[in-house]
């Protein structure tokens, strides 16, 4: 209905799903290790009862979170869209909580590409955009696309609006 007319169309790289899955897996592993250690300590030194309950609660939430973290990357990829033209940057993401942003090019202050070890493995980059009022990130674009987009945004953002 409303989104069809002017919604952004460009998508992220497909490898983004893999990157997110791997990073989520690592995060979950670390998380579960910490919880495991805490549970062991709780058992070993017989801490107060309520601490045990809280730990069990945290474990349950963590398990649910882990399950969700294996579904989320697919949904995230499926629904992430962006677009740039001479005047506006558009970002749209999320299924359960959909967010659609419209940023004028003239208000963009800086744009940068970033690459962590996981992104580098798949030849991807993320773009972070700072505006006068907030900051935005486009995660996981192929490196050449990312650099092109960065330069394009930088070029458009060079045009300055008379501030008043």
């Amino acid at each position: 209905m409303y989104s069809q007319t002017n919604a952004p169309q460009k998508r992220l790289s497909k490898d983004a799903v893999k990157v997110w899955l791997i990073s989520e897996m690592i995060m979950n592993l670390i998380g579960f290790m910490i919880i495991g250690v805490l549970l062991y300590l709780d058992y070993r030194f017989s801490w107060k009862e309520w601490i045990g309950w809280i730990l069990i609660g945290i474990t349950m939430i963590a398990v649910l979170g882990a399950v969700w973290s294996f579904i989320n990357p697919f949904l995230l990829y499926k629904n992430w869209r962006y677009d740039v033209d001479e005047e506006f940057l558009q970002l749209k993401s999320g299924v359960l909580y959909e967010e659609h942003q419209l940023v004028p090019m003239t208000k963009i202050q800086s744009v940068a590409t970033k690459q962590g070890p996981l992104l580098r493995k798949y030849g991807l980059c993320s773009i972070s955009i700072e505006t006068m009022g907030s900051s935005h990130t486009i995660p996981a674009l192929p490196k050449d696309v990312a650099i092109k987009l960065r330069n394009q945004i930088a070029h458009y953002a060079k045009i300055k609006e008379v501030e008043s």
């Binding site: 506006f88 359960l96 419209l102 208000k107 505006t131 009022g133 501030e163 008043s164």
Partner: protein
């Protein structure tokens, strides 16, 4: 264009005064309380104190000799540094608002302090004159106004499609300020009533009593006096009457000192808000730099038909030590007067009273939205089950009361919420007990967003949000508006391209 100048020589005196004020605590501690102490800590403390005092003293004098300023047609040039020198250039066009603060000490010497605030982040965001003669401050302000006006007209003449009309007749704009508002006696009475300053005396007396009690332990005597007063009826009546009179006078005097010499005026380019009887504060902003208007009404003000109008600026709003809300037009304006004043001083803004209400379905969405506060509070109450006043069931009564309060506040919020996209203006009103009406222009909004959670997606609603320049950035928005509005918000914002002027 002016020559490079040093700051006002009285700056040394003012800084000395500040230094003395800051060192009083150390002096009392090191030389009065610990006067007889021979411990290393105190002895070294004294040495360090003398060193610090001496260094600050020298640096104050050096600073005055090395800090200089200069104005040309376009910008401020600030020079400082003794060994490593720095020069800072701040174009007039970046200045968002001017805050002037005249403390009692300033008044004695017929000087003032002025901050020219920019929208930049960080410590050096403002051009500060801590002490400056009033004539010089006026001169600089006039210089900036005329310079930036000149610049604007040149930009305008480069572009063709801009309404020049409003800026053409600016030659004789100086000095003909119109005064829009000065509070009368009844305004001040109303203000002191609305701000409940009648009651301010009681907490003051209370805290005074506790402080005295801490030192002298007068509790028993006071209780005795209190009992003897309570026992005689006419004595109590007299004391209550006297207290009420004192309290009311105190409240009115306090309100008068704060809002007595309020004055809102404007000339062709700028708006000036002056206030304060003893310490005078002036806030002035160029009309084009007003980022948004906010009209706020607390419950008390709504009952009395008063409102507060605030102008949002991208520059900082604090002046010196006190962070009073200097950007507010008189906080106790009658509503109609407030609307009229906005159209008087900001002719380029248009505030309409015709706004759209939320659809019925957003009330249901709001009512059924889980309230985290209620869930957590109920969980805590359920766990502890406290009995209040020996009532065992207190926990679920409290929970139910909280639930009703939340529901009522949501209902009120729903009833108060209105919105409209009116030509190049966006306008919305939100709030349950305290309402706030937000008005901004398309070219002043720096970002828009639309969000929809899962329930909103199912019933076809959305939340809209805008960001405006301010310090810190101003987020505004309405929840649960129809999806059509969200779509038209995009269309509306896209039209921004026709309005902005490109350098």
């Amino acid at each position: 264009m002016t020559k490079t100048k040093r700051y006002h020589p009285l700056l040394i005196l003012f800084n000395l005064w500040k230094l003395v004020k800051n060192s009083i605590f150390f002096v009392i501690y090191l030389f009065v309380i610990k006067a007889d102490s021979e411990s290393n800590f105190v002895i070294y403390g004294r040495i360090i104190f003398f060193l610090a005092f001496g260094i600050t003293l020298v640096s104050i004098i050096l600073k005055w000799f090395t800090h200089k300023y200069e104005l040309d047609d376009r910008s401020f040039h600030l020079y400082k540094g003794f060994l490593s020198k720095s020069e800072r250039t701040i174009p007039f066009s970046k200045i968002q608002n001017v805050n002037r603060h005249t403390s009692l000490l300033h008044r004695i010497f017929k000087v003032t302090s002025t901050n020219f605030e920019t929208g930049m982040r960080g410590e050096e965001a403002a051009v500060k004159f801590e002490v400056i003669s009033q004539i010089e401050a006026d001169r600089i302000e006039a210089h900036i106004t005329s310079a930036s006006r000149h610049e604007l007209t040149t930009i305008n003449s480069n572009n063709d499609n801009i309404e020049l009309s409003s800026k053409m007749d600016t030659e004789n704009a100086n000095s003909n300020r119109t005064i829009h508002f000065k509070p009368t006696k009844s305004d001040i009475l109303k203000a002191s009533f609305t701000s409940l300053s009648f009651f301010i005396l009681f907490p003051l007396i209370g805290s005074f009593y506790f402080k005295i009690n801490e030192i002298f332990h007068v509790e028993e005597e006071v209780e005795g006096i209190f009992m003897s007063i309570m026992s005689s009826g006419w004595m109590m009546t007299i004391i209550i009457i006297v207290l009420v009179i004192i309290s009311a006078t105190f409240g009115i005097v306090r309100t008068f000192l704060k809002y007595g010499k309020y004055q809102i005026s404007s000339d062709h380019d700028r708006i000036y808000i002056t206030k304060g009887v003893i310490e005078e504060t002036t806030f002035s902003i160029s009309k084009e730099k007003v980022q948004a208007i906010e009209i706020k009404q607390s419950l008390m003000k709504r009952l009395l038909g008063l409102a507060e109008v605030k102008l949002t600026s991208a520059g900082s709003l604090s002046s010196g030590e006190d962070t009073l809300e200097i950007n507010s037009l008189y906080p106790f304006l009658p509503v109609k007067r407030a609307y009229k004043m906005v159209s008087e001083i900001l002719p380029s803004y248009e505030v309409t009273t015709k706004m759209t209400r939320l659809p019925r379905k957003s009330l249901w969405v709001r009512l059924f939205k889980p309230s985290w506060i209620w869930i957590i509070a109920t969980a805590v109450l359920f766990y502890f089950k406290p009995s209040i006043l020996k009532v065992e069931q207190a926990w679920w009564i409290l929970s139910a009361v909280l639930f009703i309060l939340i529901a009522v506040s949501r209902l009120l919020d729903f009833c108060n919420t209105r919105y409209i996209l009116n030509d190049q203006f966006i306008q919305f009103k939100t709030g349950s007990l305290t309402t706030s009406l937000f008005v901004s222009k398309r070219d002043k909004i720096i970002e828009v967003k639309v969000t929809r959670n899962i329930v909103q997606q199912m019933v076809g609603l959305a939340s809209i949000g805008t960001i405006n320049r301010a310090k810190p950035v101003h987020h505004a928005g309405v929840d649960d508006v129809p999806l059509e509005l969200a779509a038209s918000l995009y269309q509306w914002y896209m039209k921004r391209r026709n309005e902005i002027k490109v350098e």
